[in-house]
């Protein structure tokens, strides 16, 4: 079963057909890229998937359940975590407050209990705070814990926003241009971070991204949108050389930058270093042991055992040799139900 299954999605704004016949699958533990020129409808697709827009046609299924018309906050509680193109946070609040706000759906107490200030509320608040601290540590943002978000640099904001999305305890993470405002080095770092986060939090991701090397590096599968329609889909290496994609988006010949993204010894070494760095911050979940004491739990947490998928995309495994398995996500792939022409091959 796919984590996310979008079928025949279409939305119109007045006379503008922003999306038309979009089919998209995201399987368990996959990182799926959504690319395309400006105005292609990528963010619109995100908004339809996360419930901010109601599509005119088509369905959105989440783990088999039809969630096409579910409002955003319901989807957030289900496990849709998302970031925004232009940083979605409460800018007048501190980093810590934002991370606590983001845990709203998992707060674990009611409005009335919160107002009365019951003992259970206090315990839950401490858990929320511990989790927020763990996320700040994980992202190396502890220094801005009590600072107002509004004054931070754009790159920091994007990273903290990712932290907020993580704080919503997502199952499926939808990232809208996570590297915007970042330099090439920071972008590469973010790519490694995404891979590490997938491992640690057992995440599945759908990523809108313009930074092509990142897409090629981390994505297991790529969808290319153009003028609201699916132009092509396939594994990154195929997309990279797809003539229509090159013409519509990449422009001319495949740029040099793309060549260096294939797995090399250097990449493997980098992976090992990142791995280690991530291990040092392995506190990914906090558990109330008893009497409100918070204990860090250092184990990765597969949310669900990989189940049989309808899609024939080779499943992404989280446990077996991570570096090799995850680093090069280039795998043979076939569409399950070819209801339309497969443009990727």
């Amino acid at each position: 079963m796919s984590v996310l299954e979008v079928r025949d999605l279409a939305i119109r704004f007045g006379g503008l057909q922003a999306l038309q016949g979009l089919d998209l699958d995201v399987n368990e533990y996959e990182i799926v890229g959504l690319i395309g020129p400006n105005g292609a409808g990528k963010t619109t697709a995100f908004n339809c998937i996360t419930g901010f827009y109601t599509p005119n046609e088509g369905t959105v299924r989440y783990r088999g359940q039809d969630v096409t018309t579910a409002p955003p906050h319901v989807k957030a509680a289900m496990g849709f975590g998302r970031t925004f193109q232009n940083v979605g946070m409460v800018k007048s609040a501190t980093a810590m407050e934002n991370l606590k706000t983001a845990q709203h759906a998992k707060a674990g107490y009611g409005v009335a209990a919160g107002l009365l200030g019951t003992a259970a509320t206090g315990r839950r608040e401490r858990v929320l705070e511990a989790k927020a601290n763990a996320i700040l540590d994980l992202l190396g943002l502890s220094a801005i814990r009590d600072e107002r978000v509004g004054g931070q640099s754009y790159g920091t904001l994007k990273l903290l926003e990712l932290g907020c999305a993580l704080a919503t305890d997502p199952d499926l993470l939808l990232l809208d241009e996570p590297t915007s405002g970042m330099g090439p080095d920071e972008s590469d770092e973010l790519g490694e971070r995404l891979l590490a986060l997938r491992r640690e939090f057992a995440l599945t991701m759908l990523v809108i991204e313009h930074h092509v090397p990142l897409v090629l590096r981390v994505c297991d599968h790529v969808y290319v949108l153009n003028f609201g329609r699916l132009l092509a889909e396939g594994k990154p290496s195929v997309i990279q050389t797809h003539p229509e994609v090159v013409a519509a988006y990449l422009g001319g010949e495949a740029p040099e930058a793309l060549a260096q993204t294939h797995e090399t010894a250097e990449d493997a070494a980098l992976d090992a270093v990142t791995e280690q760095a991530v291990r040092e911050h392995q506190v990914v979940e906090h558990r109330v042991v008893e009497h409100g004491a918070v204990e860090a739990v250092a184990a990765p947490r597969p949310r669900k055992a990989p189940v049989k998928r309808a899609s024939t995309r080779r499943p992404v495994a989280l446990d077996d040799p991570p570096t090799e398995e995850l680093a090069v996500p280039l795998r043979p792939r076939r569409r399950p139900a070819p209801t339309r022409k497969d443009t990727s091959s």
Binding site: T50, G51, H73, S92, E97, T101, H104, E290
Partner: protein, 392 residues
């Protein structure tokens, strides 16, 4: 196993594990010796004595002090809607009126126990606020302000004029029980309610509800992405605000002893908004101070330098015409309010809260920082008006 009842481990800071210890090292506690705390304790004790002993024992002050408490509760109520949720309500006097009439009617006509009248007042006002909240879901900004304005005016002109509930122009009596006849005691009674309102406000900000309101005030889309049900929490804000205003209304009814519909006009709503903004939106202490100031303004205008200033200004502006002078004096509080509002928006966006922060920080053990008293434009403390619909 040993079933010894150990004290909760998580509550005792030293035994809470390496994390807490590390935190303690990172943020060393300030030394808080007698030199630091004695003057602060003296000030706090003096304030407490003034509020709890001197004012209730002074006949001339206690009635106004009760007013100050009631206005402060209304200010906190309005702050939830304007300061935290970013909606504007010009109809709050309606909720206060509903609370006042509900208390008076249930006590005098239905002969409900005194304590229960507060529950009825809060509940009924909350229902009215919920209805207004439903409107606020669809409309924001200027048009919401207009709708709430009309809502308040309509209540004043319709519901508050129904003779069966309000006893017509004669007003609905609301007699205090024996033990509250004394104004000093009644003030302490109101003060207790104010403390309760402060606790609710404190808990609101410390729980997910307050965070949800602040998030949706700034950006509804982000709030939704965080899993916050924007619709529900807007309604919760209005309902909670209405309930607080209803309680204040009940206290108001017992304060004046007889409730008439004409007492809940538009000027009252205007005063409520003014006192909240001038106090400092989003800041509990500031709002309480602003509200108290506007509550005791009539008293200050009876006998104080302010009275002489008022007379001097009125004398100049009226060119010696007695009728005009009376008019000017009648609208003086509003004019002063408008002036203070202007000063707040332009020079002190944090309101009174910003002005008293050096003092409150000092009480908390910080050194006194007089620079904060100077006007600073574009300041962005938590109590700024920016982003709320007041400025829009």
């Amino acid at each position: 196993m040993t079933a010894v009842v150990d004290p909760p481990v998580g509550r005792t800071p030293p035994a809470a594990g390496p994390d807490r210890a590390a935190e303690a090292v990172a943020r060393p506690r300030r030394e808080f010796g007698p030199v630091r705390w004695v003057p602060r304790a003296v000030v706090l004790l003096a304030l407490a004595w003034w509020a709890l002993v001197y004012v209730p024992g002074t006949f001339a002050y206690s009635a106004f002090a009760a007013d100050a408490c009631i206005y402060a509760i209304i200010g906190l109520s309005l702050n939830i809607v304007i300061g935290y949720t970013g909606q504007l309500s010009l109809g709050h006097q309606g909720f206060v009126g509903v609370g006042a009439f509900a208390a008076a009617y249930s006590l005098t006509v239905q002969e409900v126990p005194f304590a229960a009248t507060f529950v009825i007042a809060a509940g009924l006002a909350a229902v009215f606020a919920l209805v207004l909240g439903l409107v606020a879901l669809r409309i924001t900004g200027l048009y919401l302000a207009l709708i709430t304005l009309v809502f308040g005016l309509t209540l004043e002109g319709s519901l508050f004029e129904i003779p069966r509930f309000t006893n017509g122009g004669a007003g609905q009596p609301a007699d205090r029980p024996q033990f509250l006849f004394d104004d000093g005691r009644f003030y302490l009674f109101c003060l207790a309610f104010l403390v309760l309102a402060c606790y609710v406000d404190y808990r609101l900000l410390r729980s997910k509800t307050g965070r949800a309101l602040l998030a949706l005030k700034e950006n509804e889309r982000v709030a939704e992405a965080f899993g916050i049900n924007v619709t529900a929490f807007k309604l919760i804000a209005f309902t909670l605000s209405g309930a607080l205003a209803g309680v204040a209304g009940a206290l108001f009814a017992y304060r004046i002893g007889i409730v008439t519909g004409s007492g809940f006009g538009f000027f009252l709503a205007l005063t409520f908004v003014l006192m909240t903004v001038v106090g400092g939106l989003g800041d509990r202490l500031g709002v309480i101070m602003g509200s108290s100031f506007f509550a005791v303004l009539p008293f200050l205008l009876e006998d104080s330098p302010l009275k002489r200033a008022e007379e001097a200004i009125a004398g100049v502006l009226s060119f010696g015409d007695a009728g005009t002078e009376a008019n000017i004096i009648q609208f003086f509080p509003q004019a002063l309010g408008a002036l203070l509002l202007l000063l707040t928006l332009v020079q002190f966006p944090g309101g009174l809260a910003q002005q008293v922060r050096p003092f409150t920080d000092w009480l908390k053990g910080e050194p006194f920082d007089a620079r904060a008293l100077l006007p600073h434009r574009g300041s962005s403390g938590p109590g700024t008006v920016e982003g709320s619909s007041v400025r829009a």
